[in-house]
Symmetry: D2
Subunit: 164 residues, 4 copies
C-alpha cells in the first residue's frame, strides 16, 4: 500500500483508506521516535500536535486564514482528545479534521486519527475536538467567519450553522 | 515574592498564593522558551505537559502509583483543556490538580493553571481535565483503585465516589 | 515537483533532488508548526530530532539494529549541528545521513539538511554529526559492529575504517 | 538538601553544590517526564533545551540582550553536546554556562550539566558548546558585542578575547 504523505487527502482518498463520511480532509503521517514517551507509546500531547498540523492546511483550504497580514488571528479556546487505542513508533496514520458547527465568530472542529486500511474500515485510534475563535488581525475584537468559509464548512464538512 | 519551585505545594502554600479551595495540591514552575510557539505565546500542547508533570507526584502523594513493578499501569482515556488567557515566556505559574470523582477502577482529575498572587486571588489562566484508568501491572485487566487512594481522594480532594 | 515523503530515498532520488555524493540515504519531510520557536524559525533542537528520525531507518538499512531483543543497544556519545541558513514553517527538506568513519564498536555519522532542487544543486541548510557506540543487548559491554554493517558502511557510504 | 530552582545560581551557590571553577552561573532544574524518550532516559535533544533555557537569563545577566526592540538579534551558528552519563526521570540537576572566548561580534559559550553534591564534587553528566553571533536588531548586519558584556565575559567567566 502506498500513501501520499503530508499532502491533504480529500474525500476519495480517505474512502480508499477506509475512512468514511463525514470526513473529507485528512493528512497521512507517521509516528516519530520523539513522539513516544518513556512508556513506549505515543505521548498524549503528540495527538494535539497532529491536530495542530492538520489545522493549518485545513484552514487555508477553507479560506479562513492565509499568511497575509490581513488574515484574522486564530485563538484556541478549548481542546480535547479521547485516546481509543495505544499507538506505537513507526505507525502510519491519517489525521482527519472537519468543522462540526459554527457561529458568527467561532467554530468547533473535530478530529480523528485512523490506521488506514485498503481492505475494510480504518481503525480509529483517537478522536479530538477544538473550539476556535477568530479575532481581528490586530487582536482587538471578534472577527466574523468569512462567507466563503461558512459556505465551505457547510458544503465540504456538513457543518451545522448555530445561532450565537 | 519567593516561590518554592518544582516541589509539591499543599493547602497552606496554595492559599498564600491566592489559590482557593478545592485545590490542595500544586507545583510552581516557569514558562520555558521551548514552550512558546511561533505566535509568541505558550503553545496549546504545553499545558498538557504541565498536567502530566503534576500527575506523577500527585499520584505518588495519593498512593496510586509508585515506581515498583507491582504498581498498576495508568492509562489516559481522555484529556481536555480550556485556555482562559494567553501565557508568555518567563511567567511563573502554579499548576494544581485534584481528583474530582472516582469509580472502581477509573477517576477524573481536574487541573488549574494560576498566576500566583500574594495580595489577592490568583488569576486562573487555564483549566483541564483527564480521565484515567488503572490496569493491572501486566496490563491484562482493570485494577481497583487502592483503598488508601480512595480515602485520600475523599479526604484531601473532596472527591465524589461515583457508582460504576 | 513531487516528493516521496518519509520513505528512504537512495542515491538516484537524491541526485534528482540536487544532492550530490557522498550522500546515498535521505528522507524527505516538511517543517511542522511545532518545530518553530518564538523567533518564528525552526528551533535549534528540531534538527537533532530530524537526525534522530533518520537514524532509525538508516541503521536498519545498514543492518546495525533491528527491533529484536538481540539487537545491540545504541548509545549517543556526542552530537553537533551547524546551522547554515534559517528554516521556516512549511519548508520541504531532505535530511541525509551516512557513516563517515568507524572503529570496532563505534562509528561517526554525518547528516545534512537540504532544500531539494530539481534544476540544480540543492541548498544545504544545516550539517550535523553524531558519534555512536554499540553496547551488548544487556548493556554490560561494548558490542562489535556487525561485519555486514561494516561492509555496508564502506560500500554504501564510502566510510573510512579507522583503527581504535 | 534544598535547592533554589529556576533562579540563577552564582559562584558561591555552585561551589556549595560541588561545581568548581570556572563555572559561575547555573540554574537548577529537574528532569521532566516529557524529556524522557522510549529508551527511558533523557533524550539527546533535551540537553539542548536546557542550554537554551540557561542562555536567556545568562545573556541578560551579561548585558548582551534584553527584551527591548533595540536589543541585538542572536543567531546560533553551531551547537554540540557530549553525553557523559545517562540521565533519568526526576533527577535534580544544575546546568551551568559561561563564555569561553569572544571576538568582535561572536562568542563561544560552554555548558555543563551536573548532579549537585553537597559533600564532594558534583558529577558531570554532559558538556555542551554553542557559537553565537550578534546581528543588528533589524538583522541586516553584524552587531558588536557591547563593551559591558565583553567586560563581564572576562571578569565573570574568565573568557578569552580572540582577534577576529
Amino acid at each position: 500500500m502506498s500513501m501520499q504523505y503530508l499532502h491533504p487527502i480529500t474525500t476519495d482518498g480517505l474512502r480508499r483508506a477506509g475512512i468514511t463520511a463525514p470526513w473529507g480532509f485528512g493528512i497521512a503521517d507517521r509516528v516519530r521516535f520523539g513522539e513516544l514517551d518513556a512508556l513506549g507509546h505515543v505521548n498524549n500531547t503528540a495527538y494535539l500536535r497532529w491536530f495542530e498540523n492538520l489545522r493549518l492546511p485545513y484552514l487555508a483550504a477553507r479560506h479562513v486564514t492565509d499568511d497575509s497580514p490581513n488574515s484574522p488571528r486564530l485563538v484556541l479556546k478549548r481542546t480535547s482528545c479521547d485516546y481509543m487505542a495505544e499507538m506505537f513508533g513507526g505507525m502510519d496514520y491519517i489525521v482527519t479534521g472537519r468543522t462540526r458547527a459554527f457561529r458568527a465568530t467561532s467554530f468547533t472542529m473535530e478530529f480523528g486519527v485512523f490506521l488506514p486500511n485498503h481492505d475494510g474500515p480504518a481503525k480509529q485510534m483517537a478522536a479530538g475536538e477544538a473550539i476556535l475563535v477568530l479575532l481581528s488581525p490586530t487582536g482587538d475584537g471578534r472577527y466574523p467567519i468569512p462567507a466563503l468559509s461558512r459556505d465551505a464548512f457547510i458544503a465540504e464538512d456538513g457543518a451545522l450553522a448555530e445561532r450565537a
